[in-house]
Symmetry: C2
């Protein structure tokens, strides 16, 4: 591989000058610049990432940390990661994957290696020990998700509040008054204090209260079978239910099935609305689910942009972005049935 020295020699200038051209860090006379650029092309020069990083102590690498074991990451996570890496590439950065189990010292090792300029934290929990650690090390970071109190941090998260509100609006607009919420249970498989569930449930209760409606929250495991049971439970507890919001990808289709088995047609008797849903989940259900889809792509991109903005200028205002879900209306929601009278 050609080095800067080779280029400098060929262009008849010093190494420094080449560096100034490569990084555009000092003015260089047009003629000289042209000679250098020509030399670079002829030699196929590519700057060496390590030498650069070592000398400048900036690596142009950011990491994305995700829980290695606890959690099975799905298509939404993948779209976050892929879009993040694309966004990073556009700004000349590399994205490295850091699988971090609960073990804090592992994250310390990673950080200590000095490999990255900044860190994205995925699957952030309400109380997340990783955050304190990163903060303490002074490494710039941005959360994908939020902690209990993220008012002082950079973050990009799904807008659960808005998602629930949108869902409620959609359903009340169709005349529904008895609207239940199905969430994933915070069982062994899930991270403790998983923000999405906590936030959605809170937002739901607020919204329901402000509309003077009854709240009805049911938790179930993340499987279609559990969704079926949840549907039954909902009808047992509040038979007049005409709409269900489901924050539980894997259970959504089961909820539909459960309703149908209980003799309620979807969407004629009961509407089912899946929120914060993975794109593939929507595509898979049949009839296709009405849904608010998780904006993974958008989140990944915004996260990287926020972090890189901070790296370039530490005094930049905080990135605190809530990305709304994308509405995809389909066959599982419809007007509330006429009251039974």
């Amino acid at each position: 591989m050609a080095t800067m020295r080779d280029v400098a020699q060929r262009a008849g200038v010093s190494i420094s000058t080449v560096s100034f051209v490569v990084n555009d860090t000092k003015p260089v006379a047009p003629a000289t610049r042209a000679r250098i650029e020509a030399a670079m092309i002829e030699l196929g020069y590519r700057r060496n990432a390590f030498a650069r990083a070592l000398a400048s102590s900036r690596s142009s690498i950011v990491a994305i940390a995700f829980p290695a074991l606890e959690h099975r990451l799905g298509a939404t996570a993948m779209s976050i990661v892929t879009s993040a890496s694309v966004a990073a590439a556009e700004r000349g950065f590399n994205l490295v994957m850091w699988p971090v189990s609960n073990d804090a010292s592992q994250l310390e090792d990673y950080i200590g290696s000095g490999l990255v300029d900044g860190l994205l934290l995925m699957e952030v929990q309400q109380k997340d020990p990783r955050v304190a650690l990163v903060e303490e090390r002074g490494l710039p970071y941005l959360l994908i998700g939020r902690t209990e109190d993220s008012s002082q941090q950079d973050y990009v998260d799904m807008d659960f509040e808005r998602t629930v509100t949108d869902a409620m609006d959609h359903l009340t607009g169709l005349g529904h008054r008895e609207i239940a919420l199905v969430v994933g249970s915070l069982g062994d498989n899930t991270l403790p204090g998983y923000g999405p569930i906590v936030r959605t449930e809170a937002a739901y209760r607020r919204r329901v209260a402000s509309l003077g409606l009854r709240d009805h929250v049911v938790a179930c495991e993340q499987t279609p079978v559990a969704g079926r049971d949840a549907a039954r439970r909902i009808l047992d507890e509040v038979p007049s239910t005409t709409a269900v919001i489901v924050l539980n990808d894997d259970a959504a289709s089961g909820v539909v099935r459960g309703m149908e088995r209980a003799g309620r047609a979807v969407p004629d008797d009961v509407s089912v609305f899946s929120v914060a849903t993975s794109p593939d989940v929507v595509a898979l259900a049949d009839p296709t689910l009405s849904a608010l889809m998780a904006p993974g792509r958008e989140m990944g991109r915004r996260a990287v942009d926020g972090l890189l903005d901070r790296l370039e200028n530490p005094t930049v205002p905080r990135t605190q972005v809530l990305v709304p879900c994308e509405l995809a209306l389909a066959g599982s929601t419809g007007p509330a049935p006429a009251p039974n009278r």
Copy 2:
């Protein structure tokens, strides 16, 4: 951050000796070693990734390249990536994501930066221009997937041959004799000459022929609706069909639905068997699909191990691994119905 010099000073030895201890590259007297290790702990020493890479021209970083735009990567891809990064971490390596669009020069830029020791290529196509490029650059690599002729390359791929065979065995064991295959269409959304489809179809035809059965391949788009149509088409063309193998995640549930709408009960009249399926797809369908599930985790791990083995020792025998799908029997397959007579 403490450097080697700090450690050396504190332990009263030269920098070299510290290096030998850190890398275990030369024998060091136990007492000295202990002093150095103590100093490292006291100072919280962490070796600097860049200095190391620059001096040794080994970076302990590998990249995984994936198509940036053409293809929407799902849960299986995510499990490959996460397990790959875990496996890499276990061997002291970092995994970086390289979104590579068709543009070859982009990959060249990446490679030229000298950032990585080796490269994993995801979503490999039958004729894949990336392969030639990487080969030419002399960068060690391993394919996740295969090209048309991968006999001279390291690869880890799904075992389509075996998957089809297993599926056929399962179905013929249940008495089925009229078995159709549904594959994804090679439309705009798909990579040209997408290996999985090509290989599965070929293997299916061979197997069917060797069993003296009739072959019946139907291609359809990757949506449940298309799956429904495919089911109808199958019955139109061969009404006596009693089993369908589906290599098309997103269409599988639609095939089931289509059969039911055509008046065939699943699994009583027709069995539907989804192969090379994403775990979440199986979980989502209701009734749960019988399936051979894509072994993403296993593939990611094997891929990294194969690549790192090669890095450590270039003369190691080729890694050419075909990972079988994992069987998950559920409610969509059953015994063939008694002949209609």
